[in-house]
């Protein structure tokens, strides 16, 4: 018995550091520690309807943020912390930088940003942003994570490169080695095509044909004639499409000249979140979200949810609301975010990107989760997706 006690003591001593980190103040602490978080977004122009199936959602991100703040506060009631979320939705004709400078001010050290890549960059470079930590809950832009990276920005959603790598891993597993790359006319499509070319090279895949879609975006005309003609090219294994806005990609499947699967932004797509995702407790998340928002969770909702949960996790574990303390913790090895993906999520210290598995989903079926089994990495398999440390061109000093 004595021995038992002394070995227990030894154990206790050797784990003192852990205990200190985990020790929390008793329940019902009187003095509440307040953590204030701003949510910044801008109204969107309603795009021309591409399909009657997809209803325009104007508040993508907002319910995700709300659910996360509720979750944080449920935890906070036991740790003496209170999380306050203030939303700033800039009107269509408003100026986001002005709102950031004037309305958000000094009292919000943490800002969840749901904006375009361009506006995210603008905000990050404002002098007032230098003392804040921004959580990018919307962009997928690779430049923002590389040459244009900023040390005050964390990125919650997977980059284009991570998505392309996830798809490439799956295609490699299926031995769909010869790709026919079809690119839309927008700048975003060009960037995704860039990521796909990079992925093809990384995983030894071959782009045998590459074409830009220049036909109409009218379903009747496109579906009947254009696709069949457009896809009469040398033989390939899989059609890889880059059409981020979904202007024509949906028309490709079942209409190609040769019977080939479609993958990319349509057909089988790589995404951070999807209605078909149910594993690892995700079904509870889907249910809780739907009950609150009355719709399915979109990627930006997931991004905003993770952003605020990351702040909550860091504040709870450190028992602090100090920005430097939280920032250090977010980048530390101890940080482990629960994102309903079966593995703890963490931030890459070289570019602020959240490491995470990607879902490869068809519209009504979850096909695979990347990293695909067998793609190995000396540190974590999650870093087989996107820009790994040696490849990154991000320099934090900027």
């Amino acid at each position: 018995m004595m021995q038992g006690i002394s070995s227990l003591t030894q154990l206790a001593i050797s784990f003192l550091s852990v205990i200190q980190l985990l020790a929390i103040t008793p329940t019902y602490a009187d003095a509440k520690q307040i953590i204030t978080i701003a949510y910044l977004s801008q109204e969107l122009k309603i795009p021309p309807p591409l399909s009657n199936l997809d209803v325009f959602i104007k508040d993508k991100g907002v319910p995700g943020a709300q659910l996360a703040i509720d979750d944080n506060n449920t935890t906070g009631q036991f740790t003496g912390q209170q999380f306050v979320l203030k939303k700033f939705i800039v009107p269509l004709d408003g100026n986001v930088a002005d709102t950031f400078n004037k309305a958000i001010g000094e009292q919000y050290p943490y800002v969840v940003v749901n904006l375009s890549a361009e506006l995210t960059q603008t905000i990050a470079d404002l002098p007032a942003a230098k003392t804040k930590l921004l959580f990018d809950a919307a962009t997928v832009d690779d430049a923002l994570r590389n040459e244009n990276c900023r040390n005050n920005v964390l990125h919650l959603l997977p980059s284009r490169a991570m998505r392309a790598d996830a798809l490439a891993q799956y295609m490699m597993k299926k031995r769909w080695n010869k790709w026919f790359l079809v690119i839309g006319a927008n700048e975003e499509d060009r960037l995704f095509a860039e990521a796909l070319r990079r992925a093809a090279k990384r995983f030894g895949m071959k782009i045998v044909e590459e074409k830009t879609w220049e036909h109409t975006y009218d379903a009747r005309r496109t579906a009947q004639s254009d696709v069949a003609v457009f896809t009469q090219v040398d033989d390939y294994d899989v059609l890889v499409v880059a059409d981020e806005q979904g202007q024509f990609g949906e028309y490709l499947e079942y209409r190609t000249w040769n019977a080939r699967p479609v993958i990319g932004t349509q057909g089988l797509a790589a995404t951070a979140w999807h209605p078909t995702h149910e594993q690892w407790g995700a079904v509870q998340m889907q249910n809780r979200f739907k009950e609150q928002a009355g719709r399915w969770m979109e990627e930006q909702d997931y991004g905003a949810y993770l952003a605020i949960r990351a702040i909550g996790e860091a504040a709870t574990r450190t028992q602090s609301n100090d920005i430097n303390t939280l920032k250090n913790y977010l980048f530390s090895e101890a940080f482990a975010l629960q994102g309903y993906k079966g593995t703890p999520l963490s931030f890459r210290p070289w570019d602020g990107q959240l490491r995470q598995p990607l879902l490869l989903a068809a519209p009504r079926s979850l096909v695979a989760v990347a990293p695909i089994d067998g793609f190995l990495h000396p540190k974590t398999e999650l870093d087989t997706l996107g820009f790994d440390q040696p490849e990154s061109t991000c320099k934090w000093s900027k």
């Binding site: 038992g4 070995s7 227990l8 154990l11 206790a12 784990f15 852990v18 205990i19 985990l22 020790a23 929390i24 008793p26 329940t27 979750d71 449920t74 935890t75 009631q77 036991f78 740790t79 690892w280 407790g281 509870q284 249910n287 809780r288 009950e291 996790e313 709870t316 574990r317 482990a336 975010l337 629960q338 079966g342 593995t343 703890p344 089994d373 398999e381």
Partner: protein, 321 residues
């Protein structure tokens, strides 16, 4: 081959000779049924319909009644353990999954996952007498053998909440690794063992201080870390060994309860989830969700000796002497 058969025969004879006849009850989540198994004869005796999506199961201390959480019917059914007929229902709140009985067998504590609540039920009066607010997505729940504590684990809040059974109120919380799943007290009520599904760990908490005194990280050769998802945990009465089901790693970890070293990993069926001892603690039963069977681990030899097909998605397990 011949030798093996003889050995198996001898083993079976030895087991049936030495063991009391016991009955194993297994909830079948997708068959909406309860499997009744004679584990010594390795026989599925029968399968009875039980209601929509049965998951958590427990047996009363006098072994007369089974309690089965029928998730999609939002109730916990009381089943006569002999006739297997339903004799009553308990107001469990929405979507009951896991629950725990107190040692006296007159209180039942249910996790209501979607509502962040623990419901306290007075079994004799079939009434919910209290709802206690806990963290987000409460899952694992356990009552200490000395009946002082009910502990509830919140999967998203990453905490275990210490509920005083007299006051039915939370008096303390311990932060643990992400997605805590299941809880088990040692028989002396001095330690609480908690599994973390996402970190792949087992945490040992000292009940007196409510602080973690040891974290055990599971590492199975040839199995990727994301497949190691610890769930069910039980500790033997002598506090010699503890056992943790590792989910899709298809293994049960054997832990030395004195040194906290992992002694071995036993290969069982697929997605092993919940565990239960035989009354004499000579055997351990595991429910294997996706291989649709249960495994029998002989604890003297620390080896898996049998597996028995029971039906689709075996979830919870209870044993009657």
């Amino acid at each position: 081959m011949m030798k093996k058969n003889i050995l198996a025969l001898l083993l079976t004879t030895a087991l049936s000779g030495g063991a009391q006849a016991e009955t194993v009850f297994v909830t079948l989540e997708k068959d909406n049924a309860l499997a009744v198994v004679d584990p010594i004869a390795a026989q599925l005796i029968k399968t009875v319909d039980i209601g929509s999506r049965p998951r958590g199961i427990a047996i009363s201390p006098d072994h007369k009644f089974l309690y089965v959480a029928v998730s999609d019917e939002n109730t916990i059914k009381i089943i006569d353990a002999e006739t297997l007929k339903e004799v009553g229902k308990l107001p469990s709140g929405d979507d009951p999954e896991t629950f725990a009985l107190n040692p006296a067998g007159d209180r039942l504590y249910v996790s209501n996952e979607d509502d962040s609540l623990v419901t306290v039920i007075d079994i004799n009066n079939k009434k919910a007498i209290k709802q206690i607010k806990v963290g987000v997505e409460p899952e694992g729940i356990a009552v200490s053998p000395d009946n002082q504590w009910v502990v509830s684990a919140s999967e998203t809040t990453n905490m275990v909440h210490w509920i005083d059974t007299k006051a039915n109120a939370i008096v303390d919380n311990t932060l643990v690794d992400p997605r805590p799943r299941a809880l088990g007290f040692t028989a002396d009520s001095q330690q609480l063992w908690v599994t973390s599904e996402m970190a792949g760990t087992l945490m040992i908490i000292d009940v007196k201080t409510r602080q973690i005194i040891k974290t055990v990280k599971f590492d199975v050769q040839g199995v990727t870390a994301d497949k190691i998802q610890p769930v069910g945990v039980v500790i033997d009465k002598e506090r010699k060994r503890g056992y943790v089901a590792l989910g899709p790693a298809n293994r049960v970890a054997v832990i030395n309860a004195e040194t906290f070293a992992v002694e071995k990993y036993l290969l069982v069926g697929q997605r092993v989830w919940n565990l239960a001892f035989s009354p004499d603690q000579k055997r351990l039963y595991t429910t294997n969700g996706t291989s649709n069977d249960i495994s029998l681990i002989d604890l003297d030899s620390q080896a898996v000796t049998k597996s028995m097909g029971v039906g689709t998605y075996p979830w919870g397990v209870a044993v009657k002497p």
